[in-house]
């Protein structure tokens, strides 16, 4: 995947994180995960996990903490 697309997703995830960082940790983690699950389509989440699986460089700590609760997209079949 292009580095550009990854950069954009990292940026977006961190932006979401900054909103939730002012909340208690557990709420923040749940908030980020729920937000990404609800609004990010599978393709975006696939790119997101490419970043996470490669070590998550650039992601804010709260995003990384939330990543365990983010749904991995099922590989597209159709």
């Amino acid at each position: 995947m292009s580095a550009d697309a990854h950069e954009k997703l990292i940026y977006m995830a961190n932006q979401i994180s900054k909103f939730f960082e002012s909340k208690p940790e557990a709420e923040g983690v749940a908030g980020i995960a729920a937000h990404i699950n609800d609004f990010w389509e599978p393709r975006m989440r696939r790119h997101f996990f490419e970043v996470v699986d490669a070590g998550g460089a650039g992601l804010r700590p709260l995003v990384l903490a939330a990543s365990a609760k983010i749904k991995r997209p099922v590989p597209e079949t159709a």
Binding site: Q15, F19, F39
Partner: protein, 958 residues
């Protein structure tokens, strides 16, 4: 006898609001009316029309024409019935020998100074002076022809010094002073209804004349905003629509809804045959109450503009010229391409964009097309670029994205906070209603980087203007909350009762932190601390407080956070759940609300229900007979990213021009260029169509049935007044395309689509065309619990249960000024133009706004050697464009401002792709820029124009 359209009954004076009732006798009949009602109105209730000229029920009584005289037993003289209130037990006579004689005398005087060329007058048959001459039985005029206002020359050929030429400077209406009876209805309409004060009566007695401000002013150069209220009020042919002068009087009328902005004004489309003669505001329209603005009233000429495309067109590549084809050929071409893409790249590789300019029914069908026929959730709407943060922010705090009030609510407001909205330009009819309330004494707080008109205008001055630095909304809103909490101005009883008290305490602790105080944030926000404190106190303690906000709130990287902050303020002060208060998003396009309601967003089915929700999907699945994807689909920016990446290939875009309205034009262009099949469905070859392979010509709002939902959640009917010029209403085109894609759809009327929506969506359960016919309009939720709809939300409790306070940390946008780009650009709109201007640019409205200009503070202009009216280059990290500069202190130093109504300006070449953290609503309102003198269009503008020109070629039909 004449069989003219039955006009709306005119009761002569406005309805009285009192609850106390008074009974009196008029011409021997008893009538009971509210205290304060005029005798004229009481008589009208009985069906007795007292002759009148200067009175009309849209205006306060004035009492100048003396035609409406009546006699009251036991009282002296003959009082004017329009200015005399009813009293218990009085006996009134409206017709007797004495009154008849007096009235004839009055009419005789009027007619002696009026041209008698009724037969050739444009108002013939539609003139109250004519009607009154008939009503009082005027048979001859005994006065010698003497000094008058209507003869150009007297019989000896000398010029008449009292005669004034017609003023035809306004493109839509003419003013012919020769016909004026100086009833001052126009002057009062301009003051009381529109609130512009453009007209005055100059001189006294015989010399008095209506005038557009100063002597040298014409209608066009005056303050007049061309709302048409004066034309509507004029009883004679003095102020007259030019279209009526050209065509003649209409012979039938159809009630419909304006297709321009989120106010959703009701109009009567007045027709002769299938020619539209004029649009007049409908008195019983609940959003506009008989008022209008220049767009809805006059700017409908685009529907018959020569640029309108009336035949479907196709082409293999965007470098080819267009080829006109029949509808079946276009459908075959489009469906083959789409099917090919799906076969090769999978069902996720295509998607749709719904329009906030089309009807609810049309938006519903387009999202259904992608969910049920393409079988993905790749649907989005341009509402994303304006109000998606409203949906998120209000949804989180209150439990529904709905604005909380109806427009009537403003009549009971004491303090208005206006944030990032410029209603006199963006929502003119609401602005007029707001101004009326402000003139009655309500207080106004404006939070906006720019000194918008309402800060200081005729008879209105904002109590506070907080000119914040663009991008610091959250800091300002949080500072207001800081003041309210730390000074103990919050409404504890309300919060304990209606909100979660623990959450409130967390929130209170957060905002009380000294770093959120106005003193701590003033250097960041540019808002003086004492001014902000005073504004906060006024809002908290000044009576009913209402917040109205617009795109200046939402189009930021913290748009959703600001909306949450606004909701917090309303909950803190208990300003929710009754008339006169609330949180009111002013939506941009006419059907932003409706297109969102209809499930245009990729994660939500109609009625704002997430696609992950199994039960909700099941309801749709069983009716539609397909499986619905449980994953959110692609938003517009994702579609474009995926297109550049090569995984998204086909798009059906109805009624939107994403190339012009979405940020970062170059990215949009690259995304579109990478697709194999772009279908544009629109009235005109818009900018997006430069990258399209298929063009479906669209129908205007005059040519179809349907509904629009305005900013107050009001579902208004759109009615077909003429046949679609290209053959099909837009919903029919979508259906043809769906059928070509294999769908088994057989709607024969939009009412069936609405029935389906009602069946699937609890908040619409009670909506049907019959219901709308009965009630005129209805505000959702409309269901068993609220069969007549819901004007006010959250009356006894929040939709989500307890109102939720959420902390709002300010995060500076990454779009920062620096040495290369030291100025902040913010964007907006102006009255006479609409959105990307595709419609308004094709009307006479261009006389008011021929091009976009850049507003710049004198200080910044001087530093850069920029002169007023000169071409300047505007550049940002994303790109550059050029336009003319306008030097003004409406903007603060360091801030520049422009509109984006003209494609040649391409203001969005400048804006970046930063966006709201929660919804990716683009950050239009803050861009770091530099301004420098220039000679003309930039290279990009020229290249763009050349590309656009080339791609708009249409092959001549064989």
């Amino acid at each position: 006898m004449k069989d003219f359209i039955i006009p709306d009954r005119d009761f002569g004076t406005p309805a009285a609001k009192s609850k106390a009732m008074v009974t009196l006798t008029i011409d021997g009949f008893d009538v009971t009316v509210p205290e304060g009602t005029s005798i004229m109105r009481a008589a009208a209730e009985l069906g007795i029309s007292v002759p009148k000229l200067c009175a009309t029920d849209s205006l306060d009584a004035f009492g100048s024409c003396r035609l409406c005289l009546v006699e009251i037993e036991g009282r002296n003289g003959t009082p004017a019935s329009c200015t005399t209130p009813v009293a218990p037990g009085i006996k009134v006579h409206t017709q007797n020998a004495k009154l008849k004689q007096l009235r004839r005398g009055v009419m005789e005087l009027y007619i002696s100074d009026h041209p008698l060329d009724c037969l050739t007058c444009a108002a013939n048959g539609d003139c109250e002076l004519q009607d009154m001459a008939g009503a009082v039985g005027l048979r001859d005029v005994r006065y010698e022809k003497g000094e008058n206002h209507f003869e150009v020359r007297n019989t000896s050929g000398e010029k008449n010094p009292n005669w004034l030429p017609k003023d035809e400077s306004n493109p839509y209406f003419a003013y012919d002073p020769a016909k004026c009876i100086v009833c001052s209805r126009c002057v009062r309409a301009c003051e009381e209804i529109q609130g512009t004060f453009a007209l005055t009566i100059e001189g006294r007695g015989f010399d008095s004349r209506v005038s557009f401000g100063a002597k040298t002013d014409t209608a066009l150069t005056s303050d007049c905003v061309s709302c048409g209220a004066c034309v509507q009020a004029c009883p004679t042919g003095t102020l007259q629509e030019k279209s009526v002068i050209d065509i003649g009087t209409p012979d039938r009328s159809v009630i419909t809804t304006c297709a321009y902005c989120g106010v959703g004004c009701s109009f009567k489309a007045e027709m002769r045959g299938d020619e539209l003669v004029r649009m007049t505001p409908y008195k019983h329209g609940k959003a506009n109450r008989g008022h209008s603005c220049v767009k809805g009233r006059f700017a409908y000429g685009y529907a018959s503009h020569k640029d309108r495309i009336l035949s479907p067109m196709i082409r293999d590549s965007i470098n080819d010229p267009w080829k006109e084809v029949s509808w079946p050929e276009a459908m075959e071409f489009a469906s083959n391409r789409m099917k090919g893409i799906i076969a090769k790249h999978g069902r996720q590789s295509v998607g749709v964009i719904t329009s906030s300019r089309c009807t609810n029914e049309e938006a519903y069908l387009v999202q259904k097309l992608t969910r049920a026929v393409f079988q993905n959730n790749n649907t989005d709407t341009c509402a994303r670029v304006c109000h998606s943060p409203t949906g998120y922010g209000l949804g989180q705090t209150f439990g529904t994205s709905a604005g909380t009030q109806d427009f009537d609510s403003v009549e009971q407001t004491d303090v208005v906070i206006l944030i990032g909205a410029n209603p006199t330009d963006g929502h003119p009819v609401f602005a007029s209603r707001l101004k009326k309330r402000l003139r009655q004494g309500a207080k106004l707080i404006v939070i906006d980087p720019r000194r918008i008109d309402l800060v200081d205008t005729a008879h209105i001055k904002a109590a506070h203007h907080l000119p914040l630095t663009p991008g610091t909304n959250v800091a300002v809103v949080t500072a207001i909350a800081h003041v309210i909490v730390t000074e103990g101005l919050f409404d504890e009883a309300f919060i304990r009762d209606r909100c979660d008290w623990d959450e409130f305490q967390d929130y209170a602790e957060f905002v009380s932190d000294p770093r959120h105080s106005p003193e701590a944030t003033q250097f960041l926000t540019g808002v003086k601390a004492d001014e902000l404190r005073a504004a906060a106190r006024l809002y908290a303690k000044g009576g009913n407080g209402a917040i109205y906000y617009g795109l200046g709130v939402t189009e930021h990287s913290q748009g959703s956070t600001t909306v949450i902050g606004i909701a917090n303020l309303a909950m803190l002060t208990g300003n929710i759940g009754r008339p006169g208060v609330g949180v009111n998003p002013l939506r941009g396009q006419n059907n932003v609300q409706g297109s969102c309601d209809m499930g245009s967003f990729p994660h939500e089915l109609p009625g704002y229900r997430h696609v992950k929700n199994d039960q909700v999907r099941e309801v749709f699945e069983s009716l539609w007979g397909v499986k619905i994807d449980n994953e959110p689909g692609l938003r517009i920016p994702n579609m474009l990213d995926a297109a550049v990446e090569g995984t998204f290939k086909g798009l059906y875009c109805q009624g939107e021009d994403i190339l012009q309205s979405d940020p970062d034009t170059k990215h949009v262009a690259a995304g579109l260029a990478a697709m194999d099949c772009v279908i544009v469905h629109d009235l005109f070859l818009n900018e997006t169509a430069n990258y399209a392979h298929v063009f479906f010509p669209g129908s205007s709002f005059l040519e179809k049935d349907g509904t629009f939902t305005n900013a107050e959640r009001r579902i208004n009917r759109v009615r077909k007044v003429m046949a679609p010029r290209q053959g099909y209403a837009d919903w029919e085109v979508t259906q043809l395309f769906a059928q070509a894609m294999g769908a088994d759809w057989h709607y024969t009327h939009p009412s069936q689509i609405m029935d389906e929506i009602a069946m699937l969506t609890p908040s619409f359960a009670g909506v049907s065309y019959e219901r709308l016919e009965e009630l005129g309009s209805v505000q959702w939720p409309c269901n068993e619990k609220a069969p007549e709809g819901t004007p006010l939300m959250h009356i006894d409790g929040f939709v989500r249960g307890k109102g939720k306070f959420i902390v709002t940390e300010y995060v500076a946008t990454d779009e920062k000024t620096g040495p290369r780009f030291p100025l902040l650009l913010t964007t907006g709109r102006i009255l006479s133009q609409y959105n990307v201007g595709a419609q308004t640019r094709r009307t006479e409205n261009v006389v008011w706004h021929a091009e976009d200009v850049l507003e710049i503070h004198p200080h910044d202009a001087e530093l850069r050697g920029v002169r007023d009216g000169q071409f300047v280059k505007l550049s940002s990290r994303s790109g550059e464009t050029s336009l003319r500069a306008k030097i003004t202190d409406r903007v603060s130093p360091g801030v520049v401002y422009t509109t984006f109504h003209h494609p040649t300006t391409q203001a969005n070449v400048i804006t970046t792709d930063f966006s709201d953290w929660a919804t990716n609503c683009p950050e239009y309102k803050v861009t770091a820029v530099q301004v420098s003198p220039s000679n003309g269009p930039t290279e990009w503008q020229e290249e763009y124009a050349a590309q656009a020109e080339a791609s708009r070629r249409i092959l001549a039909a064989e």
